[in-house]
Symmetry: C2
Subunit: 483 residues, 2 copies
């Protein structure tokens, strides 16, 4: 039995390949610094045959020199030394190790393939290996983190991510940090010489800390086993899959990247649908889907209200909703009249999309409109677009700063309160339309506004098409699972 508890939450962590020499600082040093910055709670045990000290810690000359057992190891020595280092960790009782070093089967050379075979042989003797050619494990609860990763979020949450690509793992972890996605575990498994997609997916399916499993897959070792695992896990929690390398050039890149074999687009799409996995097409779409699955109650949302200032927003929302099979029901005349009474004139429209006429519609008005629109039983989710950047010229006109003038805290309170009071979730669209060198105030306010909404449990997206595509994924998943 694999002791995943000791792998994800090690008490004693060896880092093999920490240099005392400031001229040869490498990945091992980076891992040590990053785990400390993350508040890793256990013991960190650095190793290097040349000994010395780094960051105030004495470096053991060998794994054998470490007193007592270890739980897990991060291995960052040159490729040819990896099998021996791994074997030493196995003898020290480690349940597992991550090998961040590259230069194995992904090279496509006989030497690289032979070296990876030796890693597999050590693993088969009783130590689980993550990698090689990977960025390792990020687990906020224990303080393990991806390479280079010193500033990832320390908060845990329901989203797990399995990635063949190290770059994709660190990019999603950073993206998730500001988007409000919190992770249970992220595993960059690289070449996947031992632990890889199917076994990790099964583990996360049973992991009570994980509510959503997202994956970046370049190729799978055993298609039948993988799809069966996806089907089984998918009955309990959503499985979001980005299969990279479905084009010719993409497949070529896959082989050089993680030594995997790709597959055809039609087969992947068909089978993922059959097993009720959620197929997405890029990093941004993974993130948006994870945000929606993590923050919205687990159900379908077939009808929405769309609230924004400016008629084209409603037009775009209508088009995006239709593209995702979501309806924006026309409200009853009586309800329209009550909403209309709250809206500025002229230029507003209460039919749904609800056009609040301009970007300065006050938070109390928004609160009231959300309460009213929720009275229509066909409205299951409410979508609010706010173009906060427009407050910048208003603020300038009265000699104040954007942060003082833009009522984002009050808007977040209104949205959060309305969602609670009505039981109908609210999502917010905050387009980022000013991003020049003279617009850092706008970017700052957008970041603060996003956080204010997230603090009230309200997910935020950059644009309406992204948001409704994510809601479409919920509808497809929960519709098939529960429908």
């Amino acid at each position: 039995m694999t002791d995943f508890e000791r792998i994800f939450h090690p008490q004693r962590l060896a880092i093999v390949g920490v240099s005392a020499d400031s001229r040869s600082i490498g990945f091992g040093n980076g891992i040590l610094v990053a785990c400390r910055a993350m508040g890793f709670a256990g013991e960190i045990l650095p190793v290097n045959p040349r000994g010395g000290t780094f960051a105030g810690q004495e470096i053991y000359r060998s794994v054998e020199d470490i007193p007592g057992d270890i739980d897990f190891a991060a291995i960052a020595v040159p490729a040819e030394s990896v099998p021996d280092a791994l074997e030493a960790c196995r003898r020290k009782g480690a349940a597992g190790a991550e090998v961040v070093t590259a230069g194995f089967a992904e090279l496509g050379t006989p030497e690289g393939i032979a070296l990876e075979q030796r890693v597999k042989e050590v693993a088969a003797r009783g130590i689980r290996v993550v990698g090689p050619n990977c960025f390792g494990i990020y687990c906020p609860r224990s303080g393990l983190t991806l390479l280079p990763g010193p500033d990832l979020s320390r908060e845990s949450g329901p989203v797990a991510f399995l990635s063949q690509s190290g770059g994709m793992s660190i990019d999603l972890a950073h993206t998730g940090k500001w988007m409000g996605i919190r992770f249970s575990k992220v595993v960059s498994f690289g070449n996947g010489a031992d632990l890889r997609e199917t076994e990790l997916l099964r583990y996360l399916g049973d992991d009570p800390e994980t509510g959503v499993v997202a994956m970046y897959v370049e190729g799978v070792e055993d298609g039948d086993a993988f799809f069966e695992a996806a089907r089984s896990v998918g009955r309990r929690k959503p499985v979001v899959v980005y299969k990279g390398g479905l084009s010719e050039a993409g497949r070529r890149a896959v082989v050089g990247h993680t030594a995997s074999m790709g597959g055809s687009r039609a087969i992947w799409s068909g089978v993922l649908r059959q097993v009720n996995a959620v197929q997405v097409g890029d990093l941004a779409e993974i993130a948006q889907a994870c945000l929606a699955f993590a923050l919205l109650p687990a159900r379908t949302y077939r009808g929405i209200s769309m609230i924004g200032g400016g008629g084209a927003l409603g037009v775009a929302a209508g088009d995006a909703a239709e593209a995702n099979g979501i309806s924006i029901p026309l409200l009853a005349p009586e309800l329209q009249d009550r909403i209309s009474a709250v809206l500025p004139k002229p230029g507003s429209s209460a039919g749904n999309p609800i056009d609040v006429a301009n970007p300065f519609f006050p938070p109390e008005g928004l609160r009231r409109v959300l309460q009213l629109a929720a009275e229509d039983p066909r409205v299951e989710l409410q979508v609010v677009t706010s173009l906060l950047y427009h407050y910048k010229s208003q603020a300038a006109a009265i000699g104040r700063s954007l942060a003082e003038v833009a009522p984002f805290r009050e808007l977040a309170e209104a949205a959060g309160d309305a969602a609670e009071a009505t039981g109908k979730p609210v999502i917010v669209i905050l387009p980022s339309l000013k991003r020049g060198g003279d617009d850092l105030d706008v970017l700052d306010v957008l970041a603060r506004a996003r956080q204010a909404f997230l603090d009230r449990g309200v997910p935020v997206f950059d644009d309406i098409a992204d948001a409704l595509r994510a809601v479409g994924h919920l509808n497809a998943y929960y519709g098939r699972r529960d429908g």
Copy 2:
């Protein structure tokens, strides 16, 4: 004959509806302030029956009181006073006027429709009207600007934008500012009581300052005339069209927004293709297409090189290229060897996609790789992805700031030089993956980096799929036009 020169570059501009009373400051005051901020070079002549002064300027009590003729007027009085104000401007010799006031046909009421009819009657007597229910004209060369718009770019450029929606016009103008899109003319024409899509499109087709015409259309007055104009203009310059309201809810929003009738998705897509217009689906796609048309030489780009640090970037690029009918040709072994000699080992790959192994590949290496990859005649465009945010942890480790450490100026020089030396354009992808409240340094560096690339004529996109979709639009347009 309509005197468009006097409309877009007025010497004498009346602003009807400028209040001296600080408690009733409205759109007219906003227009005055904004035009001054834009450096409007002509005379500004404010009007209000109550007289007084605003911002140091005396307010005329009526249009008739203005000494001499006027060229153009901005009208921001209550809807019921608009026809008379317009008639007064006509008598003063104005070639045209923009009516920003709302409350006309878009209300759907008999009163609103009748009021708009009166506007049409005045226009028919000899003054061209932009609006009502619009944000007016932005023309950087003359200093006219959209509502509220005081901080739009003052630089002119080749992109014109016609928009039925005011919100869309101001949003694209702001987006274009930081993306590097420079405008010849932007016209928000709202309800289009007089001047509207077809006539403006024909004018811009002949306008030597305009090289690309983009449009946001909710409904057209005369489909045959519009499509014929699009076909005719499209023979000379690209016409990019976002038709909003192709869904049921979208159509409903259109009617309440600008009193237009929509149309069916199939008909629009089919006819736009027939006339070789470039159909796009949202604001971001308009902007991306305009950037590519404005900055890339006018031709097709069927084959590209893709250069980035991290294998998944190449995988994603391959998939995005295929989706847009673009090839990433495998380079010849001899050329691969020469490229490989410049790349770090292990983890790099020279086949194309070219994986430079990590985000810290130095600018001189990039310069060399671009020069080498350009030797393959199938490579017609080069795409470089740079994940600058990774320099943040590197900078922190050595106690310096991201702006000091990230070599964005040198990267921009390398890309610009290589494009010039090889005659093969370069585009750059700068994903914005850190955007939290503690990442303003990253956002600042991204804004500066974007500007550095733009200063060298290198367009920048947020992500590879967006960029290749835009290149796909060039291929479709120039392929049909010239192919």
